[in-house]
Subunit: 515 residues, 2 copies
């Protein structure tokens, strides 16, 4: 067996059965090993940012890592932005990055670069395997690192000779994912005392704390004590819809976020990060909480959050408190002009049962939650790291993870252009994704920020960097050019008709909703 085969067998032993790939010459032995050894579904991406973003979306829904296959330093570099988002989502990912043969590096061939240095800023674990004898053990370590709660980015660099040379090294046992450590009970008891203080205490959750069961527990605590609950501003995944606890997120803009925490005296972080401004602004505070608010980290993102909530429910005797779960309720279909709000309302009116919403709607989607609180139960995944260009890849990965569920991708146009190549992968893999592109033909958020920061209207040279209207992008043609069926909607009535039709169908469909 050669090193590449040892790697494939170890990945399979570690439960990895999907590889989002964009290979090159240095990875051909790994490709050949994937070819010979059944067990891993290889999904080709036409750009590495699609591969890494899809791995993130996959991990959020499958709750286990996919592999990526990337071509040396530049291939990894192209994938870094969405690895940044994955890192901020605590998604487990195992990157396999091809590298020149060990003895070839010193020759500084054109594609040579410092892959480890490129990998480190966006990875929790990085290793260049030394030889075919070390590949499998290193891969097992990478998988263990990725699966360590809450989930990590592991990057294994595979020199050509480590892939193609033979090895007799025994394949390692791949350790099962380590359990989440429980939070100290004394700490939890002290937290219970804080929660009893009512609405001046806020319990902040994210990720596993936002699944239905965890939210229900949190809802009991809130019902019993009157404390407030909040999710982070961005979260890897939320189980939402009728029968689940609706939970607010910290607002994006500084003033509403400050207002949100105005009366908070104690903020308990259960796996979440302390809320801060997305960007700094002259003269505005960086933290969203008042200076006199105590911020206590009850548990980290890798801790046993569900157990902590169960413990708190018991300690507070909240087991019979009634959480304020959402009742089934849909907004009516809107009429007239398309706006961010009417598009979101249409989504709320028509969202099918058990759907997955992949959200990179940016400015257009800010009121989505108010229209979907009572929609049929669904999963909501969103951009976590602020690096735009992940909506389409997230939807791609989610659809691979959950082939029986409808994925609705809400995509802003400016950010959608970063990784529009994902549409081709959706077509090739026949993924059941309905994408709605919010075509406002500008970086609308930057128009807002320009005004926020400078209190003036942008001039010609500035508008040239904020507007996307010369020429207008035609998403219908760009989708069809990649094999995805598409249509344009310019009114609410058109959108409702096209969206309903796309939801009834199966396979990828794109709707350009012109705002």
């Amino acid at each position: 067996m050669n090193g590449a085969e040892a790697l494939v067998r170890t990945l399979i032993a570690g439960g990895i059965d999907v590889c989002f790939a964009n290979p090159g010459t240095s990875e051909m032995h790994f490709v050949a090993a994937l070819d010979r050894i059944p067990g891993i579904r290889c999904v080709l991406a036409l750009f590495e940012g699609v591969a890494t973003g899809a791995a993130d979306g996959y991990a959020r829904m499958a709750e286990k890592p996919a592999a990526t296959l990337l071509h040396l330093g530049p291939g990894l570099a192209n994938g870094l932005a969405n690895l940044h988002n994955a890192r901020r989502a605590w998604s487990p990912v195992v990157n396999v990055v091809g590298e020149h043969a060990t003895y070839h590096r010193e020759l500084d061939a054109p594609l040579t670069s410092d892959i480890e240095a490129l990998a480190k800023p966006m990875s929790h674990w990085v290793r260049t395997t030394a030889s075919p004898d070390s590949v499998a053990a290193d891969a097992a370590d990478a998988i263990r690192a990725a699966r360590t709660p809450p989930g990590r980015i592991a990057t294994l660099i595979l020199p050509g000779d480590a892939a193609w040379n033979e090895t007799r090294a025994a394949l390692p046992n791949v350790a099962p994912p380590p359990p989440r450590p429980r939070i100290d009970e004394a700490k939890l008891r002290a937290a219970a005392d804080e929660l009893r203080k009512g609405p001046s205490t806020v319990l902040m959750l994210t990720n596993v704390g936002l699944r239905a069961r965890a939210l229900e527990l949190a809802g009991r605590i809130a019902a019993k004590t009157g404390c407030r609950l909040t999710a982070q501003m961005s979260n890897a995944r939320i189980e939402r819809g009728a029968g689940r606890l609706p939970i607010a997120r910290v607002p994006y803009a500084v003033e509403p976020a400050l207002d949100y925490f105005r009366d908070t005296r104690t903020l308990l972080l259960l796996g979440a990060k302390a809320p801060v401004a997305f960007f700094a602004y002259p003269g505005k505070p960086g933290r969203n909480t008042p200076p006199d608010c105590a911020i206590e980290t009850l548990g980290g993102p890798g801790d046993d959050i569900v157990h902590a909530l169960e413990f708190l429910v018991d300690a507070l005797d909240a087991g019979r408190a009634v959480p304020a779960l959402a009742k089934p309720q849909r907004p009516p279909l809107p009429a007239g002009a398309l706006t961010g709000d009417t598009i979101m309302q249409t989504v709320g009116a028509l969202l099918p049962e058990n759907a997955i919403i992949a959200d990179e709607s940016v400015t257009s989607g800010r009121r989505l939650f108010s229209f979907t609180d009572g929609a049929p139960p669904h999963d909501y995944i969103q951009l976590t790291g602020g690096s735009i260009g992940e909506g389409l890849p997230l939807a791609t990965g989610a659809a691979i993870a959950c082939p029986d569920r409808k994925v609705v991708c809400l995509q802003a146009d400016g950010s959608g252009m970063y990784t529009l190549q994902a549409l081709w992968t959706m077509a090739r893999e026949k993924l059941d994704v309905v994408t709605v592109v919010m075509a406002n033909r500008s970086y609308a958020i930057l128009h807002g920020e320009f005004r926020n920061v400078l209190a003036g209207a942008p001039g010609e040279r500035a508008r040239a960097m904020l507007d996307l209207d010369r020429p207008a992008l035609d998403w219908v043609q760009m989708a069809r050019g990649q094999g995805v069926e598409a249509a344009r909607a310019t009114t609410c009535e058109e959108l409702a008709k096209v969206f309903a039709g796309a939801l009834r169908g199966k396979g990828p469909f794109l709707i350009e909703a012109v705002i």
Copy 2:
């Protein structure tokens, strides 16, 4: 004046008058300064890899740096692959990367990452400016670094508060580009002795050594001594066509490259790098030269190459030797099926005077030179670092640098998909670029490499990572969707007609040449 204004004024003082930009919130003060202070043309790219690749193409043709404007670590990351190519081309580039305000970094807001660590692998110079008082001096240093021959990648990281706070610091003088140092005459005299040995000595050139005047000098040396001349495998820019010295490049594949240097006993590197295999292959050597070949570095890429050639011409008394310049000669228009060769032949038959060829044709373009040696004088720029996805951005930057020249972009389909967003910038800026996409609907080079390496036919899972035919990409729709006029050609006759029409016209046009 605030720090952002000081930066813009310093860039202008340093001769920078183009900025390829993809800004975000943290760069709004810089955008506002560019808006208020005339002198820099801002070119919006819808993806950062377009911005950095365009800066590379611009630098190669304008012989001076453009600025780029990138949004924090992920924005820089998206631009790294083409900065890798620019670095390998020795192109001068000044990157301005926005960063959180200095005091905001410790809060670890979602977009926070280690920007310096990301920048270093692809930059020769990296600095985070400390305050508005240091911005201008740091920018002057960045410009000096970028303009130091042969050209370097300088990355200036600009925290928000360094941009928006006021400064009274005097604007620095921006030093003119330092001259290229002359090569020691004793070394050149010894090289002359080697060159006199005739064809067993090879003089290897790249970049400035491949401009018409340098090539003519080299041609005199070869005519006088019988030595051989070669360019690198990849070169930032070559002045080619009738009246110029045609020069061969080192072949890409290992065996032809070994054969190319079989009889070489002395290899003199004048600004070039020793030729090595692009990738390592099991059992094949890494160096292209025989073990007993002496490799001597006569001068580095930043040295005064033209002076060295002049000195050698004098030392060898070659001033009246007649260089073997190409005579005007075009191939006939081919007929019948489109292949890589017949497309290149069509280019040779129709290429207009003073054109710029931006080449990322990969496998399809290997015989381009034989069809264009005698074409009207033109510039040839190509992928230098092996990181695919630079053809369209290179063409974009070249067209900005040379608005009165026709740019012909020869683009393979697989690599074209990496940065297809460049088409929109071409449309927006009305760039005079005719793009020919070689639509072979596969990563053809990888099919070759798979066979090379493994001597077998790829199976289903491997083909799924090498072929782009399910579904076929429709480049005509993808171009029109971004505002670029487009047509498809399926025969040589169709291609000739459409290509000739596009060359007569003005503005961007894309031809999908289906192979």
